[in-house]
């Protein structure tokens, strides 16, 4: 009994000390819930929370003075760098998870850059909360991926090219402002799409998705590429 308690602690300590990806993954795995329903519920809840524009986009618009009809209209032309809901829905569950995780990874980097270049730390505390939420989603995605992988589903490649358009491009301040706005708009819309896809997931982890025609077209290309697992989770609080 005592040994059972010591094992997670030991793993956690080693993971923190060594800071190796394997150790981190092991730590995250130890923390993962084995309940598919619970994980799915958490993912749905987080996606629902993160799609709300009042959490990030609206504070950003107010802070930057973009709350005018012309500028708001431009802001709501959300960044097209995010996968559409149709594209996400066409993916297998593992590929979907990988895509979401990779996309959110890109969002994290953009947010970090945006915060570093444009804002003072005290300017927009919502940024900090958003980053924590994204990390939480990615951790849950990792756990869900592990759960599905241990089941019957075969890992597949995510949608290509999800990260490149998210790199910061604007040098001009005004452009940086409105691009940040569009990025956040796209982020919220993307999380809305993610929520919709999660809503369609069944209660059982063993159900296989039916592939869409689009997915069938890309099937060969994905098979040619090495399958990629979901990135290791980011410990919360970093």
């Amino acid at each position: 009994m005592r040994a059972r308690h010591r094992r997670p602690l030991l793993s956690l300590a080693l993971g923190l000390l060594l800071l190796s990806p394997a150790a981190e993954a092991a730590v995250a795995m130890r923390r993962c819930s084995s309940s598919y329903t619970q994980l799915l519920g958490q993912l749905r809840s987080l996606a629902h929370l993160m799609k709300d524009t009042s959490c990030l986009l609206e504070p950003y618009i107010r802070l930057q003075g973009l709350d005018t009809p012309v500028l708001r209209g431009f802001c709501t032309e959300c960044s097209g760098a995010f996968p559409s809901e149709d594209a996400l829905a066409a993916l297998s569950r593992l590929a979907f998870l990988q895509t979401v995780s990779a996309t959110l990874d890109g969002v994290l980097q953009r947010l970090a850059v945006l915060q570093q270049k444009c804002l003072k730390a005290k300017d927009l505390p919502e940024f900090h909360v958003a980053r924590k939420n994204i990390q939480g989603v990615r951790n849950n995605i990792y756990c869900m991926s592990e759960l599905l992988t241990n089941g019957s589903e075969t890992p597949e490649a995510p949608l290509p090219g999800t990260e490149a358009p998210l790199r910061p491009s604007a040098q001009d301040t005004f452009q940086a402002k409105v691009e940040g706005c569009q990025l956040l708009c796209g982020y919220h819309r993307f999380m809305g799409s993610v929520e919709q896809v999660f809503e369609k997931w069944g209660d059982s982890p063993s159900r296989n998705r039916r592939h869409s025609p689009r997915r069938a077209l890309h099937k060969g290309a994905r098979r040619a590429r090495p399958s990629r697992r979901v990135k290791k989770p980011v410990p919360r609080g970093q």
Binding site: L63, G65, T68, V70, K120, D123, T173, F174
Partner: protein
């Protein structure tokens, strides 16, 4: 002549041509013309930087002027003309800048320059060159030139003016906005528009958005960063706590930092001109400076605040010893602490101990600063406090500064000092209540707790000694534990001296003394009313006794409570008045004050009593009224006194309010409207002692309502519930009051008559007349025949006796009422007849003669003397006629004795005449005679059964 004219002309032409030629040669070879003009653009600053040279100066330096022309869009549109004057040296590269109001990216600019030699030292060199050729200048823009508005990312200070331009060549109908406000641009060229923002305000650190679009479609935008104006640092000062480092502080003012790293917060730099050292400060409001121990301890600091747009500086110069701000003293301790003295010691952490320090010492109690002292020390400090209060908690605070120059005091260091206890310093304030009861004095002692100032420690107990002044040996000792502030003593009627002391751990207080005399508690003093105010009561009195030590006024602060909270006040011997005030006094509460004179032997005598209200209120209740003496024309109201203590003011009288159907009021009353819109006649009874009221002049058989309310000086009490009264009918009342007494009189007369009838009867016609006593007879005798004598019955010999047999079922009845004359119109002879058969339930025998006819008993309750049936009949013939005998029997239901069985039938008679031998009928009652056979006639007399029975039984 002609030759000379031609020669002159030719000479003139030659000179002219030479001159012209000379000029051309000079122009071509002038070494003073500007050369190598180079123009660079600073887009951020909107500056054009000119750079040129002047070759082949004939002298080392030459004063020159350079006229410059700048055109925009095209060379013909000159927007600026000016001269640049300078002293030009040989081979010098000349620089000059021009700032454009319009962003240089908006349009191409053209520049030309020429030179003029204007040096007074060399007047022969006066020379103006030609203009240089126009030089076009274009500000660089990014390759993918989709920007429409300029300048980009400009940084200005709040309040500045900025000119923007935008190009609508590719976007016809382009509109531009500042934040959300549409801006009208001024057309500069066919597609070039400008607008100027003046006195620009600071909106946000993220910059002001200026953007253009077509039909609400954004085409381009810029951010104008407006910085707040950098302020001069305020309150710049430096000080040292330890002589090692100087801590310089200032108030930085507003933060001028902007977002997008356009401008960081202002930076601060500290420079000491004495040492020549400079330090960049990390923080925006303070900076530490290391003191070099080998340098003179003087400084001249300059603090510079700087951002991208401006610099601000402030300076301060000082000697180190003038900027000493010591740390708070440490190790504050006390030693040799007694009840009134204590010594405090402390240390001051100073790097250099040679500095003389000035220290302030404060001694606080819980309320105020009690002592303040200034002490000069070097290193450690020590100070002796005296005149302290025993058992008191003090706070000692110490702070120090440099004695040479008090720049700032250190922070206070504080420590708590508690002095030792001492014996209480003041006698208790004692008072008493004395009540006499059954030859004893019940003395309740009260004392006020000593203040902390006088207690000098925690009071542990109170000692009470009661000494009988008549019997010196008698002592009563009591020890009352604190915090009790009173006790009860039961003493006999003698005089007692009571001594009270308060005791703490050190000792007792001075003794407080009070004397209880024999008369204490029995004083009879009339109570006097006084008027109080909200500020209290002015109580005054007249001195009674000449030799007095003082006065005491006592009262209850809460007279309505069970514990009245007795208060008292000692006053001087010459005082004859005082104001008693208390926060506990409430309006509508009666307060009673007792005024005592204290004799020199501490005996208190009650001299006056006062009672009053701080504010009288109207009564809360109405009296309970009873109705009496109700007549058709009046009735009487009566009520009882209030409880004095419950009165909310002195009752000054009563109002009787009478409602009736009559619209008029009696003259001694006034009509008054009531809340229910009815009216009543109000009678005022101004005498509060009057508790009855006669309501008169009423109508019989009428309905009246009345209420009685009391009033004080504050007003009338509530109108009580109206009580309804209906006056009775006058005639029936009269009847009741006339006929009833009349009937009573008649009845009385009847009773008297009846009583007198007995007397008359007895006197005039007794049941068994005594002939000897008959007044009638005497009258007859005296008037008619003085020789008439009474016939003696014994002289008669009865010759016959008849016994009438009463048939069965015939009941002998006694009517129980005296027979009237008609019923027995004549005397009847009575015959005793034996009954052969009888079964009557209660047969009685009655005897009747002309003087006697009365029932002897009633049925069932008779006591009969049995008569033996065998007894020989007696003759009654002389008294009864045979003819009347039956009639008489039927009427009187007379039965013979012989029909009545023994035990069931009693004869309730006694012989009317005693045996001749006996001669006295009274003796018959004692010894009833045996029936005598054939004896002479005996007069018989019936007696009531209740009298007869016991007598007979005897």
């Amino acid at each position: 002549m002609a030759f000379s004219v031609v020669f002159q002309t030719a000479l003139m032409l030659a000179l002219l041509s030479w001159r012209t030629c000379q000029s051309e040669v000079l122009a071509e070879y002038s070494p003073l013309t500007p050369e190598g003009l180079n123009i660079s653009v600073s887009s951020a600053l909107q500056h054009l930087h000119f750079q040129w040279t002047v070759h082949k100066l004939p002298y080392q330096e030459l004063q020159m002027v350079f006229p410059i022309e700048i055109s925009r869009v095209e060379t013909s549109k000159v927007i600026w003309m000016g001269n640049y004057s300078t002293t030009v040296k040989q081979d010098q590269v000349l620089h000059w800048s021009w700032e454009s109001e319009l962003p240089l990216e908006c349009a191409p600019h053209f520049v030309r320059i020429k030179s003029i030699v204007n040096d007074a030292r060399f007047p022969e060199l006066s020379f103006t060159s030609n203009w240089s050729s126009w030089k076009e200048v274009r500000a660089p823009t990014p390759e993918q030139n989709h920007w429409l508005i300029f300048p980009r990312n400009k940084l200005v200070e709040e309040g500045s003016n900025v000119t923007f331009c935008y190009n609508s060549a590719r976007n016809p109908g382009l509109s531009c906005y500042v934040e959300s406000a549409l801006i009208d641009g001024e057309q500069l060229d066919s597609n070039l528009f400008t607008f100027t923002l003046t006195n620009i305000p600071f909106i946000r650190t993220q910059g002001t958005n200026i953007y253009c679009g077509v039909n609400h479609t954004l085409k381009d935008g810029v951010v104008l960063f407006v910085s707040k104006v950098l302020e001069e640092p305020k309150n710049f000062s430096c000080e040292t706590q330890d002589f090692k480092t100087l801590n310089c502080t200032w108030d930085p003012g507003v933060d001028t930092g902007l977002g997008y790293n356009r401008q960081p917060s202002q930076q601060y730099t500290l420079f000491d001109s004495v040492s020549g050292k400079k330090k960049f400060c990390v923080h925006n409001n303070w900076c530490n400076w290391e003191i070099s121990q080998d340098l003179p301890a003087t400084f001249n600091f300059t603090l510079t605040a700087e951002n991208y747009l401006r610099k601000r500086t402030v300076s301060t110069a000082f000697a180190l010893t003038d900027r000493v701000h010591l740390k708070a003293p440490e190790s504050v301790y006390f030693k040799n602490v007694s009840a009134t003295n204590a010594t405090v010691t402390w240390k001051v952490p100073v790097f250099r101990n040679y500095v003389t320090l000035l220290c302030q010492i404060e001694l606080h109690d819980k309320e105020n600063v009690r002592q303040e002292h200034n002490v000069s020390i070097k290193g450690n400090g020590e100070f002796l406090f005296s005149e302290l209060q025993p058992d008191t908690e003090y706070v000692v605070r110490i702070r120090c500064a440099s004695a040479r120059h008090v720049w700032k005091w250190s922070k206070w260091a504080a420590a708590t000092l508690v002095t030792a206890e001492a014996a209480p310093s003041k006698a208790l304030d004692v008072w008493r209540i004395v009540k006499s009861n059954e030859g004893l004095h019940n003395v309740t002692l009260f004392w006020k707790p000593l203040s902390k100032f006088h207690a000098n420690g925690k009071i542990l107990f109170y000692n009470i000694v009661a000494k009988n002044l008549d019997k010196k040996s008698e002592l009563k000792l009591l020890c009352i534990p604190a915090p009790t502030n009173g006790t009860e003593l039961t003493l006999d009627q003698g005089s007692y001296q009571i001594q009270v002391t308060a005791n703490n751990s050190v000792g007792p207080s001075p003794t407080s003394e009070i004397v209880i005399s024999e008369n204490s508690g029995n004083e009879e003093v009339e109570e006097e009313k006084i008027n109080g105010t909200k500020d209290g009561f002015l109580v005054s009195w007249n001195p009674r006794y000449g030799d007095r030590a003082g006065h005491v006024v006592d009262w209850c602060e809460h007279p309505q409570n069970l514990h009245c909270d007795l208060q008292w006040k000692y006053l001087g011997s010459n005082t004859t008045s005082t104001v008693i005030s208390s926060d506990a006094f409430r309006p509508g509460i009666r307060y009673n004050f007792g005024i005592y004179e204290l004799s020199t032997d501490k005996t208190a005598y009650l001299v006056e009593k006062k009672t009053g209200y701080t504010q009288e209120l109207a009564p809360l209740d109405s009296p309970q009224v009873a109705v009496a003496n109700l007549t058709p024309h009046s009735f009487t109201l009566s009520w009882k006194d209030y409880d004095t203590e419950s009165q909310r003011g002195f009752i000054q009288g009563y109002y009787v309010c009478l409602k009736s159907n009559s619209t008029e009021c009696h003259p001694d009353s006034v009509k008054e409207g009531l809340p229910d819109k009815s009216t009543c006649c109000k009678h005022d009874i101004s005498n509060p002692k009057q508790k009855t009221f006669l309501v008169k002049n009423l109508q019989p058989e009428s309905f009246y309502e009345f209420s009685v309310s009391s009033y004080t000086s504050a007003g009338e009490g509530p109108n009580g519930t109206f009580t309804k009264v209906t006056t009775p009918d006058g005639r029936s009342y009269m009847l009741m009051h006339i006929i009833l007494p009349m009937m009573l009189c008649v009845l009385l007369i009847a009773v008297v008559c009846y009583w007198k009838s007995q007397w008359v009867k007895e006197k005039c016609y007794p049941d068994i007349p005594d002939p000897y006593k008959s007044s009638i007879l005497s009258l007859v005798k005296s008037k008619e025949n003085p020789h008439l004598t009474v016939m003696n019955v014994k002289d008669c010999i009865p010759d016959a006796i008849e016994v009438i047999n009463k048939s069965e079922g015939t009941k002998v009845q006694f009517t129980g009422k005296p027979l009237t004359e008609s019923e027995s119109p004549r005397p009847a002879n009575l015959y005793l007849l034996p009954a052969e058969d009888f079964s009557g339930l209660a047969p009685c025998i009655s005897f009747e003669n002309f003087t006697y006819n009365e029932s002897a008993c009633d049925s069932g309750s008779c006591a009969h003397i049995p008569v033996p049936t065998t007894a020989p009949p007696c003759q009654l013939g002389m008294l009864a006629s045979p003819d009347n005998s039956l009639t008489s029997l039927e009427n009187t239901h007379t039965h013979s004795q012989g029909e009545i069985p023994a035990g069931e039938m009693n004869m309730n008679y006694v012989s009317q005449l005693a045996s001749p031998m006996l001669g006295d009928k009274d003796s018959l009652l004692i010894n009833p005679p045996e029936p005598v056979l054939c004896s002479e006639y005996k007069m018989q007399m019936a007696v009531p059964s209740h009298l007869a029975s016991p007598v007979l039984s005897e």
